[in-house]
């Protein structure tokens, strides 16, 4: 008799604790629910805040980085002497490797008509080092800029680049506005 009493008391305590733990979980969920969102959030680079420090290439958990250079063609001047394509101290205005700014030759230069050239980024080669972005922003129109490519981005809980970005250019945004592509010609809210 005494034994069964003891057991039921222990059971009572256990059930009581279980219910209070359940209530605690409910409370945590309830408080968190105030900030709940049904939207998906992704990481995004603001090209207007970016200072082209080069950490995107080295800090991403992916190798090569999920950050790539994107070309806003509407802003491009199609220059022959491209600040994003050629090294400032290039020997010659040519496509020779030693004259190219890009360390992986990810920018392809194509002649269109005198004196204009088209520059296309090969995303598979791009490592997101922002050297071309710096060149283009300093000497050109700033049509080359970095964006996080969401096919590649793992959407980490905390972006390891955002943590180290000196200009705080990376932030979490609604997935419906995943990209911030420069220039008004593309929907800047690429749905």
């Amino acid at each position: 008799m005494e034994n069964s009493n003891k057991k039921s008391r222990r059971d009572f305590i256990r059930t009581g604790t279980r219910l209070s733990l359940l209530i605690t979980l409910g409370a945590v969920g309830g408080i968190a629910a105030k900030n709940l969102t049904a939207e998906k959030y992704v990481w995004q680079i603001d090209p207007f805040k970016c200072t082209q420090c080069g950490r995107c290439a080295t800090s991403c958990v992916m190798t090569p980085s999920a950050v790539k250079c994107i070309h806003a063609y509407d802003l491009c001047g199609y220059c022959d002497l491209c600040g994003g394509y050629l090294k400032p101290d290039a020997n010659k205005l040519s496509t020779a490797a030693e004259n190219q700014l890009c360390p992986t030759a990810a920018i392809q230069r194509r002649f269109i008509e005198e004196p204009y050239f088209e520059y296309v980024i090969n995303e598979d080669l791009c490592i997101g080092c922002a050297k071309c972005v710096k060149g283009c922003t300093s000497f050109g129109n700033g049509s080359l800029h970095l964006q996080i490519i969401h096919k590649r981005c793992l959407n980490c809980n905390e972006c390891s680049i955002a943590r180290l970005c000196p200009s705080q250019a990376i932030s979490r945004v609604n997935a419906s506005k995943a990209y911030k592509v420069k220039g008004g010609f593309t929907k800047d809210t690429k749905a």
């Binding site: 733990l21 969920g29 900030n35 998906k40 959030y41 200072t51 420090c53 269109i112 809980n157 995943a178």
Partner: protein, 420 residues
């Protein structure tokens, strides 16, 4: 007069160049005569939201199956294949992200920072395993956690650790949890994700030191079974609390224990409690006195812990980039001339005043001070309780899994000769 013209010319030039800069069109886009059509940049879509909800559904299914295998079906094989699936899906396919362990930080951040929006998926990943554990024990660890699955599948020859070592190392997860919550709540860092030893293996890509850490954990795990789960996992702390009061739990024997001792060495995690030895049971008065002394010491432990935590807050808060930058600029003003320091240069060009920066840093540091007291006090409580538990004797007549520490992996069930 000449001078005046010069000045106005310079002015006009400046105005012109400024206008040009504002438009960001130093070189206007040409009009092409050859019918050139301009390509558009490719911007692939992020992973669809519906797939995130699929993950929640899969988690629910896996947890239900794990609980069924552990409690009703009593099938180690079922649990094993379930953990293989989890490893492949949540581990290698989903690249280890999203995971319940990391979700602690999102929940902590959203509780302290109303501006942080938490997604439904993350909140559910945090809550669902805890609720399941409250009813079925830690079946999450057995079947639904990719990190646990990884370690569980790589156990080769587990050795038994002495109790004092297990208890001492067992304090680390509490420390890790309190630091993780402190860092997340102050918006500093998500350390659980950053120092996840296995995520690099899931992604087959990580920084060098994380690769070394991951391999070290796997090698260690061959002999010390599930080292991360036992001596590091912060989510395991919460699961442990829940599991202690679970309604149902995996049992070694399907019927009554016959004390054959066959299962006594079956658990690689030393999570089986042996029957208490009547002969060795200590003097009751001695035990009660000890209990009272240790219980009265707990407030002291809490105070010591809190005091130590608050003293350490200056040092810990340096992990926050704002605090670090502010302190760097104050202690080493020369750093302003260091063009290689990107953080300082970016701050200087941002135009933010030193006053604002220091004000921000002070606010964060004050949070760390309060957080240091709370986290330290919590650690004091944990240490006090660990010591207190040394003198609590509960009479056991059977071989039972320890409800808090048992991962419900089901290895012991095969050792029991008793049939239903």
């Amino acid at each position: 007069m000449k001078k005046w013209i010069k000045v106005s010319l310079i002015f006009a030039f400046l105005l012109f160049s400024l206008a040009g800069m504002a438009q960001q069109q130093r070189f206007p886009k040409p009009e092409f005569g050859t019918g050139y059509s301009q390509p558009t940049p490719i911007t692939p879509e992020p992973r669809a939201l519906a797939l995130e909800y699929t993950d929640v559904v899969i988690l629910l299914i896996v947890l239900s199956m794990a609980s069924y295998f552990a409690i009703r079906k009593r099938s180690r094989k079922g649990l094993l294949w379930l953990s293989v699936f989890t490893l492949l899906y949540f581990g290698f396919y989903r690249d280890g992200c999203i995971c319940s362990i990391g979700s602690i930080q999102n929940v902590a951040l959203t509780l302290f920072d109303p501006g942080y929006a938490i997604s439904i998926t993350t909140l559910l990943f945090f809550l669902i395993p805890l609720v399941f554990t409250l009813y079925f024990g830690r079946t999450f660890c057995a079947g639904a956690c990719p990190l646990g699955a990884m370690q569980d599948l790589l156990i080769v020859k587990p050795i038994s650790l002495p109790e004092w070592l297990r208890k001492t190392l067992g304090i680390i997860p509490y420390l890790y949890l309190s630091l993780a919550v402190l860092f997340a709540a102050t918006g500093t860092d998500f350390i659980i994700c950053r120092y996840d030893p296995f995520v690099g293996i899931f992604r087959m890509d990580a920084e060098f030191h994380m690769v070394v850490l991951g391999i070290a954990f796997i090698l260690m795990g061959m002999f010390v079974a599930r080292p991360y789960c036992r001596f590091l996992c912060p989510y395991g702390v919460l699961l442990n609390w829940m599991s202690r009061f679970s309604k149902w739990h995996l049992t070694i024997t399907p019927a009554a224990c016959i004390q054959c001792k066959l299962c006594s060495d079956s658990c690689p995690f030393d999570a089986i409690d042996y029957p208490t030895d009547e002969k060795q049971s200590k003097n009751r008065t001695w035990g009660v006195n000890r209990f009272l002394v240790y219980a009265l010491l707990i407030p002291l432990w809490i105070f010591i812990g809190g005091f130590a935590g608050s003293k350490a807050h200056t040092w810990i808060s340096k992990a926050n980039p704002t605090v670090y930058l502010a302190e760097l600029l104050i202690t080493k003003p020369d750093v302003r001339n260091d063009l290689k320091n990107l953080d300082v240069q970016a701050y200087l060009s941002s135009g933010k005043s030193m006053e604002t920066l220091v004000k921000e840093a002070t606010v964060i540091r004050r949070k760390f001070y309060t957080g240091g007291w709370i986290a330290g006090g919590f650690m004091g409580l944990v240490i006090g309780m660990t010591i207190l538990r040394q003198v609590v004797y509960r009479k056991r007549t059977d071989y039972q899994p320890h409800k808090g520490n048992c991962y419900s992996c089901g290895r012991c069930m095969g050792y029991c000769p008793v049939k239903k």
